[in-house]
């Protein structure tokens, strides 16, 4: 019975899927039972045999081609309607309120109760019983929203949770983790392109950090400002040779960036890796049918310098 149980569970053991107690039991048994030990050895050898083969990974070319094809398809793809139902549509919302008196009354009551609560906060507490304000009163302009309002039953104590926005300042060197985090955030999220430019400019001094490189790739691919994209490109230039993701991003910029300056710079950066299969493929496409005469002629020149492939 024990041997049967062991044989049924040897596969799971080899894959590390046995619970700790079962694993212990199995190991104890195998140490004593020669047949089961042989079975375990056979299973491990079989595992190794399969592991040696089929380690096929997609080539960078296949990945780049798949990404480009997907991007093209996404241009015309439309999303399903579910998110639209969730998105806040004021006109639709008002229509609903209009046609549902019960909802309108409920909103009115909540509003009234809210007003009442606010007056309790301002006027309601008795002298000598201080209101339990855990935070100093915020300036109205810094309140970004009220999370919840609750009143303790039978008292006039009101608990309000609210969010505020305040400007904070921090200082540190580029090696400081906090500074890096803020720069990464600014590079992706700031609406002011000047701030994005400054952050990307600083990040280009730290391209060895993987997070920074990802942020630069993101900026190159998605930033709306060509100046920011150019800066990101400058920062990535040194990694075109060794990092396939960087190479893919630069190739993508070369093929599809809307700004001629960015494309020209991308063209210059791929020069050292022009013999690479994916780069050669892109160059051939550009040489054949790119709209820019300059890019077309540069691509042809680069291709002409390459050895023939038979």
């Amino acid at each position: 019975m024990k041997c049967e149980w062991v044989r049924e569970n040897i596969t799971l053991h080899v894959y590390g899927e046995l619970a700790d107690d079962a694993r212990h039991e199995l190991e104890q048994h195998v140490a004593r039972c020669a047949d089961c030990a042989a079975e375990l050895k056979a299973e491990q050898e079989f595992h190794a045999l399969l592991g040696e083969e089929r380690e096929a990974r997609p080539t960078p070319n296949l990945l780049a081609a798949s990404r480009m094809k997907l991007q093209e398809a996404l241009e015309t793809a439309e999303q399903g309607g579910f998110w639209r139902r969730l998105a806040f549509d004021p006109a639709n919302w008002l229509r609903q309120v209009n046609f549902s008196p019960a909802l309108a009354s409920a909103i009115l009551m909540v509003g009234f109760a809210g007003g009442l609560g606010a007056s309790y906060e301002v006027f309601g507490h008795q002298p000598g019983t201080p209101a339990t304000t855990k935070a100093p009163a915020p300036a109205e302009a810094s309140i970004t929203g009220i999370q919840s309002i609750t009143q303790e039953p039978g008292s006039n104590q009101i608990d309000i949770k609210y969010n505020t926005v305040s400007t904070l300042e921090t200082q540190g060197s580029l090696n400081d983790q906090r500074i890096q985090q803020l720069l990464l955030f600014a590079a992706r999220n700031n609406y002011n392109s000047g701030v994005r430019m400054d952050s990307v400019d600083l990040l280009t001094k730290k391209p060895d950090v993987l997070q920074v490189r990802d942020a630069l790739i993101y900026a190159l691919q998605y930033d709306t400002n060509p100046g920011v994209r150019l800066k990101a490109l400058d920062g990535l230039g040194g990694f075109v040779k060794d990092d396939v993701q960087v190479r893919d991003a630069v190739l993508q910029a070369l093929v599809s960036d809307s700004n001629p300056g960015v494309r020209t710079e991308a063209m210059r950066l791929i020069e050292p890796v022009k013999a690479d299969g994916s780069v050669r493929g892109v160059l051939m496409t550009l040489a054949a049918k790119d709209q820019s005469q300059y890019i077309k002629s540069q691509a042809r020149t680069m291709l002409a310098q390459l050895p023939e492939i038979d």
Binding site: E8, T11, L12, H13, V14, Y15, G16, E17, A42, E43, Q44, E45, F46, H47, A48, L49, L50, G51, E52, E53, R54, A56, R57, P58, L62, L63, A65, S66, R67, K69, L70, Q71, A73, L74, A77, E78, Q79, G80, G81, F82, W83, R84, R85, L86, A87, L210, Q211, D214, Y218, Q221, Y222
Partner: protein
Amino acid sequence: VERVSENRDPTRDRMAGQAHRIDDTILIREAQHGNRAAFEELVRHYDQAVLRLALHLTGTEQDAQDVYQDAFLKAYKNIGSFRFECSFYTWIYRIVTNLCLDHLRKKNVRKEDAPVVKDCDGGEYDLLDQVPDGRAGANPERDLMRRQLGARISGALERLTPRERMVFELKHYHGLKLRTVGEILHTTEETAKNTLFRATQKLRGQLADMR
């Protein structure tokens, strides 16, 4: 157990690292509001693993690319209905595995007409597996042996049922926990364990002479 750690997939590790760096949740929410750039960023967190799985299961770059494309387009169109009830990782794998299972089932039907012959021991093999791949190598003899081994393994894998193949692929080559495999395939961990056991037994039987 050590073998399992050796089998860990670096693509997945890198993917997991990236997932920490940029919160997927933010990207998903952005994508749900129609932000295509956010969706493309999300794609980049997962697409290497997806393409690898598709390449293994379909066997050709063209089919793998089709599965990749269909999977992410489907994800894009349906991301609005993603409600964070499972991880995005599980969700995207569910889409890909379904597409791959469809592909394997169709392939199995087509395979009935494929040029299968019997060798001297009575074992079946596919004539197409015997076609050399034409790549030059430093050691032709070793290359030949490796190609033969690869062909035998591919043949054995193709004889599994699509579901057995999928469980084996996700566990053996992608190193996923059987609990996750169960979630992806809408089944229990116990069923995934039984399926893996069955698949391994079949493979061992078919490749017994290779050891």
